[in-house]
Symmetry: none
Subunit: 205 residues, 4 copies
DNA sequence: GTCTAAACGAGACGGTACGTCCAGTCTTTGT
DNA sequence: ACAAAGACTGGACGTACCGTCTCGTTTAGAC
C-alpha cells in the first residue's frame, strides 16, 4: 500500500511559527529597506531563521514578497453603505489606505514589474491578490442590482467584460494616483472619481 | 552673447555619440533580459563603451532606464479624430501600444516601484515621463471645448484637478489592464472604456 | 582533553583542499606573471575556487604571497658537512638556489617592500620566513662549538646579537648578490664569501 | 618678452621646473602613501602638472621612482676617517641613514622587486643607483692600500670580484638589517659588522 | 523509550554584479 | 610644439548577495 498523503508522516515537521515569522520579517524589511535592498539573508536573520529554512519554503524573493503582501489585501471589505456610489467610494478609500502602507508601496509594484517576464509569478499574483479582490466588484454590482441602481445583466459575457473593465478602472486609477502621481487619495478625490465612474456606468438612466 | 555652458570649456568634451549608444543599448538589453537581469556592465559592453563612461553620466540603473524609456513616450500624438471620444480612444490605443513593447513593460513598472522609496527618482520620472504626457489631456480638452463638447472651465483650480483625475484614470486603467491583468487593450476594450469615461465626464458638467 | 579550536564547531567546515590549491596556484601565477601582474581573481580561477573563498582566508595579496612563499624556505637544511666553513657554504648555496626560483624572486622582495609601511605584514614575514630560518644559524653555531671551532658563548645577550649579525650578513649578502646585483651565487662566490665571514668571526673571538 | 632660448624657435620648450617638481612630488607621495598606493595621477596633481606631461617624460611608475630615489644616494660620501675600519663604519652609518628615510624605504625595495622581471628596469637601477655607489668601495680600497692596510692587488680580475663581494656584503647586510629585520643600524651594530668585515678581509695579516 | 528521518542553525562554497579606482591614451582648447 | 584639463577604454579591486552545499544538532512521531 502506498501512502496517499501528500505530506510526510515521518521526520520533524516544519515549524509553523517560522512561516509567520518569515512573512512578518519580510514586511518589516520591506518597510525599512524597500524591495530592491531587501535581501533574503537579512529576512532570515530578522526572522531568527536560517537561510536554508527560507529557501525550503519559497523559491525566491518574488514569491516570498507576494505572499507577504497578499495577506494585507484580505482586509478589504465592502459593508453596505446604502448606494453604489457610497460603496465604491468606501472601497476606493480603503484600497488607497492599504496602498500607501510602505510595505505594500515597496513590494507590490516591484513584483508586478517582475511578473511582466515571469508567467508563474503573474499567475501567483493573480491568484493571491488580484482575483481575490474582484469579489468586491461582483458584490457591489449584485447589491446595486438589488437596489435597482443597475439593470440585471442579460449577456453573461458582456457582464464579465464589464466587471474586468471596472476592476481595471478602479484599481488602476487608485494605484496610479498613489504610486505614480504620488498624490493622496482623499475623500475629495474619491468622490470626484466615483462620480465619473457611476455616471459613466449608468447609461440606462 | 550668452555662454551656453558656464563650466568646463577645457578638456576633452564628452562624446555625444556615447549617450545615444548607451540609451539604445539599454533598450536592447531591457528587451532581451528584462529589468532585473539587466546589468550596467552588459549595457556598457553592448554600447561599446567602458563602464566608467556610463557611471560618469548616470548615477545608476534606475536613472538610466528612466531616460532610456522616456524617449519612447514622446511618440504619443493626438491627431484630431473629430470627437472627444475618438480622440481618447485613439490615445488609449496608442498608449497601450507603447506599454506592450517589451522594453517598456520590463522597465516602467520597475522604476515606478523603485521610485516609491527614492524621491529624486520619482521626480525624474515625473519630469521625464508623466508630466510630459499630461499635454495630451490638455490638448484633448481644449479641442473638445472648441467643438462645444465640453464647456469652458470656470474655476482654474477645479479644472486642474479634473485634468489630474482624467490622467490618472486613463493612464491607470491602461497600465493596469496591460501590466497587471495582462489582457490586451484592443479597440473593443478601448471603446468600452472611452464610453464610460466620456459619459461620466459629460454628465458631471 | 583539550579542544583544538575554541571557536566555530558549527556550520560547514572550510575545505582543507582549497588552502593547498590556492597556495599552489599563487606560486604558479607568481612564476608566470610575477608579483605586480598577479591578480587575486586569476589565482582564484587557477585554484578552481571563488574569489570570496580566497578573501575569506587571506586579507590580501601580500599575506597570500607570504604564505605561498614561506613554505619553500622550509626546505632549507644544514647537514653536518664537517666544518663551520663547509656548513655555511652549503647553506649559502641552498639559500641562493631557493632565491633564484622565479616564484620567490618575484614575490619576496615585493612583500618586503610592502612591509616597510605595513607593520602587520612585517610581523607576518618575520614569523613565517625570517625567524624560522634563524634556526640554521643557531644550529651551525652549536655544531661549531661542539667541534671546538667556536668558543661557548659567555654573555647570552652578546651571543644573540652575534646571531642576528650573522643572519643579516648571510641573508643580506646572498639576497643582494642574487636580486640586486643579479649575479649568480656559484661555489666560487660562496667560497669567497664564507672565507671572509669565518675569518672575520674567528679573529673576533 | 624675449625668447629665452636663441636656439629653439619653434614650439613651446619643455619646462625644466616640471621635472624638479615631479620628482619632488614623487618623493612626497612615497613618504605619505608608500609605493603601492602611489598613483601617477596623484603625483601629477601634487606637482601641478598634467598627467600627459608626466607620461611624456617617464615611461611609467617604476622609472619615475628610480629617478626620484637615485638622487638621494648621491649624498653618500666617504671622507678619510684615518683607517679602513673607520671609513667602512662611516659609510655603513651614512648608508643606513639614507635607507631609513621613508621615501627610500618605500621605493627602493619595490623597484628592486619589479626589476626581477624587467631587465631594462634592472639596468636603470644599476646605472642610476648601484654602480654609482661602487665608487665608494674602490675609493676605500685605494685609501687602505695607500695606508698599507691592504696589499696592492695583483690579479685585476680577482680584485674586481672582491669589490663586488664587499659591495654585496656591505649593502646587503645594511639593507637586510634595516628593511627585513627592521632593527636600527646604530654605531654598535656598525662597529660589530665592520670588525667582522675588516678582519675577514685582512687575511694577509 | 528508543529509533529515525526530516527540519533546523550555521556558515562555507562557486558565482555574478556591483561601484570605484587607476593605468595609459586621446582629444580638446589655450599659450 | 608643448601644456593643462579631463574624457576615454580597459581591467582589477574588494564587497555584497545569490542560491547551493555540507556539517552537526534538534525534534516530533513511528515503532
Amino acid at each position: 500500500m502506498q501512502s496517499r498523503s501528500p505530506v510526510s508522516r515521518t521526520g520533524r515537521p516544519r515549524s509553523a511559527a517560522a512561516d509567520t515569522a518569515i512573512l512578518a520579517a519580510t514586511r518589516e524589511a520591506l518597510v525599512e529597506l524597500g524591495w530592491s535592498k531587501l535581501t533574503l539573508g537579512d529576512v532570515a536573520t530578522r526572522a531568527g531563521v536560517a537561510k536554508t529554512t527560507l529557501y525550503r519554503r519559497w523559491p525566491g524573493k518574488n514569491e516570498l514578497v507576494v505572499d507577504a503582501v497578499a495577506a494585507l489585501f484580505d482586509e478589504l471589505e465592502m459593508p453596505d453603505r446604502g448606494s453604489l456610489a457610497a460603496d465604491i467610494e468606501g472601497v476606493v478609500l480603503q484600497f488607497a489606505a492599504i496602498l500607501v502602507r510602505p510595505e505594500i508601496k515597496s513590494g507590490l509594484m516591484a513584483v508586478v514589474a517582475e511578473s511582466t517576464h515571469d508567467d508563474a509569478l503573474r499567475e501567483r499574483i493573480r491568484a493571491s491578490i488580484v482575483d481575490r479582490q474582484k469579489r468586491l466588484v461582483l458584490e457591489g454590482r449584485a447589491r446595486a442590482q438589488q437596489r435597482g441602481e443597475l439593470p440585471p445583466e442579460t449577456d453573461p459575457e458582456e457582464a464579465a467584460r464589464t466587471v474586468d473593465l471596472i476592476f481595471d478602472m478602479v484599481a488602476g486609477a487608485v494605484v496610479h494616483r498613489t504610486l505614480v502621481s504620488a498624490e493622496p487619495v482623499d475623500p475629495e478625490w474619491a468622490g470626484a472619481f466615483t462620480r465619473v465612474l457611476v455616471l459613466g456606468l449608468g447609461r440606462s438612466q
